[in-house]
């Protein structure tokens, strides 16, 4: 089984700390991530327009290049890349005519797309391949007394065909938090949409979502959120600026990528550069809990 790592554009820019922490964590867990070569944008969002195959080309080209590089599976960290690549693959493979048309656009590639590379999210690898028991054995700095809300959003669990866990009541991320010695808190709005790309054209929509989601987490006792989606992270973290301006009684909450907390629990050094990519400073909370 040869596994490739598919970063996606945001993990090389605004979510560099997601990639850095994941790379280090996987090294410690004995499954280092190997970045595939010549990857391109995943396609950004799965297009449900069934007759515009142009919007599927990026996803399929990535999967084809992974096939040609001999990868049996591609591991993604970003929920959006996971969702887009996986859905594009199913959509194209399930229709012979789509497959033929898309392959007509695979010029300059070494072969035609066959669909032999699987798309897997890192959380599934952690749970099914490495196992949480194994991770628990490697925890050196448990997240004691830290109450974490796992924010799934849409892309890890919908549509249900590609859900990495139960699509209505997932527990994988809460289990991970428990594994790390923290307390995974289930809160009502953990599967709600963060407002997604409304953040660009209707900023107020996402500000309201952020207000509701973070309040929901706060009321359930959460002290911080974790996510695996850079777009959710942007809306829930960066938009707390506008949320604080709009709702005066709002109190802020740090938002982490789950791998950042894994890195801490596995005894890795907290990287000061990661802080720069957070809007709400997570350092006071981490210090309060004696984690850094």
């Amino acid at each position: 089984m040869k596994s490739g790592y598919f970063p996606g554009c945001t993990l090389k820019t605004n979510a560099k700390h997601f990639e850095d922490s994941a790379m280090q964590v996987m090294e410690v867990l004995g499954h280092p991530l190997e970045e595939m070569e010549n990857w391109i944008c995943c396609g950004t969002v799965f297009s449900m327009t069934t007759d515009d195959l142009m919007l599927q080309l990026a996803s399929i080209r990535n999967l084809l290049r992974a096939e040609n590089q001999g990868y049996d599976e591609l591991i993604t960290l970003c929920s959006m890349c996971y969702n887009t690549l996986k859905r594009a693959k199913e959509f194209i493979l399930n229709d012979e005519e789509n497959l033929r048309k898309v392959n007509d656009f695979m010029y300059k590639e070494d072969s035609k797309f066959k669909g032999t590379t699987d798309v897997v999210h890192l959380l599934s690898i952690l749970k099914d391949r490495i196992t949480f028991e194994e991770i628990k054995n490697k925890v050196t700095k448990p997240l004691t007394d830290l109450k974490i809300g796992a924010y799934y959003g849409c892309l890890l669990v919908r549509p249900k065909e590609l859900a990495i866990d139960d699509f209505e009541d997932p527990t994988i991320m809460e289990e991970l938090v428990d594994t790390l010695g923290g307390e995974g808190v289930v809160f009502p709005y953990r599967l709600e949409c963060c407002g997604a790309y409304q953040t660009i054209i209707e900023k107020d929509v996402t500000v309201k979502r952020t207000y509701e989601i973070i309040n929901s987490a706060r009321n359930a006792g959460c002290e911080a959120l974790i996510t695996s989606c850079p777009l959710c992270a942007f809306n829930l973290d960066q938009r707390q600026k506008e949320t604080s301006e709009e709702f005066l009684e709002f109190s802020t909450m740090p938002v982490f990528y789950f791998t950042e907390l894994m890195a801490i629990a596995l005894g890795l050094k907290w990287n000061k550069d990661w802080k720069k990519l957070h809007y709400i400073d997570p350092v006071p909370l981490l210090k309060e809990k004696g984690l850094i």
């Binding site: 820019t13 391109i40 944008c41 142009m54 080309l57 990026a58 080209r61 656009f105 300059k108 590639e109």
Partner: protein, 228 residues
């Protein structure tokens, strides 16, 4: 020209002409009587001025290439592209950083790339155009500069792009930023520029500008080309 050279028929802007077999498109155009003032430059495949669309006999495909590098075939249909009026934003390189922000501001259109690879397919320089666009999208400016190094700015990529990206202009920004900020400074280059600014070639240049055409031609052809 030697006698009895076999001829082929080409169609220039729809009109048929007999031209010698083995001609490049540029020489075929001139043989047919066109006097080229635009769409021609170095004739050596370096300047990128002669982007040309053509279609071969019996083929449905519109192809593209450099007129000085593409040999005519019998029945070829030819139309030159004199100029690509692509967007060329003005920016101050001193006020930019070599990161994704520069491209988000100056060439936001890059982010529309869908990875169709049409640009790579048409590039007469065999550059991986789509891959350098993708490198820019994720802020890898040095990689984009490297991948686009052989670009001769013919503009064919931009003409064919379904996302209306101006690849070749974005690429030159990537190379400028890389040259200015990411590559190590060359002390030799700085010393050379200083020498020239202080008038190292002034006398020779004065002499050259006063020479007649024949002398200049002779000097050009007799020049000593150093190979490394």
């Amino acid at each position: 020209m030697p006698k009895n050279v076999p001829m082929v028929k080409v169609y220039i802007l729809g009109e048929g002409f007999d031209v010698p077999e083995g001609s490049t498109i540029i020489s075929a155009l001139e043989y047919a009587g066109f006097q080229l003032t635009v769409g021609v430059g170095c004739r050596e495949g370096f300047c990128g001025a002669c982007a040309t669309l053509y279609r071969e006999k019996g083929d449905y495909k519109l192809q593209a290439g450099l007129a000085c590098q593409t040999v005519v075939t019998d029945g070829m249909n030819i139309a030159q592209i004199p100029f690509v009026p692509a967007e060329k934003p003005i920016y101050d390189i001193n006020k930019l950083d070599p990161d994704i922000e520069a491209f988000k501001t100056i060439y936001p259109i890059l982010f529309r790339c869908v990875g169709c690879n049409t640009c790579t397919k048409i590039c007469p320089q065999d550059i991986e155009v789509m891959d350098y666009v993708q490198a820019l999208i994720r802020g890898d400016i040095a990689k984009a500069a490297d991948l686009s190094f052989d670009c001769i700015r013919c503009g064919l990529c931009a003409l064919r792009c379904p996302a209306e990206i101006v690849q070749y202009n974005a690429a030159i920004l990537a190379r400028r930023l890389t040259g200015k900020y990411l590559l190590p400074n060359s002390p030799d280059l700085e010393a050379r520029v200083k020498e020239i600014a202080e008038g190292l070639y002034e006398k020779k240049l004065q002499k050259l500008t006063k020479s007649d055409t024949e002398t200049i031609k002779k000097q050009y052809y007799d020049r000593d080309i150093k190979t490394v």
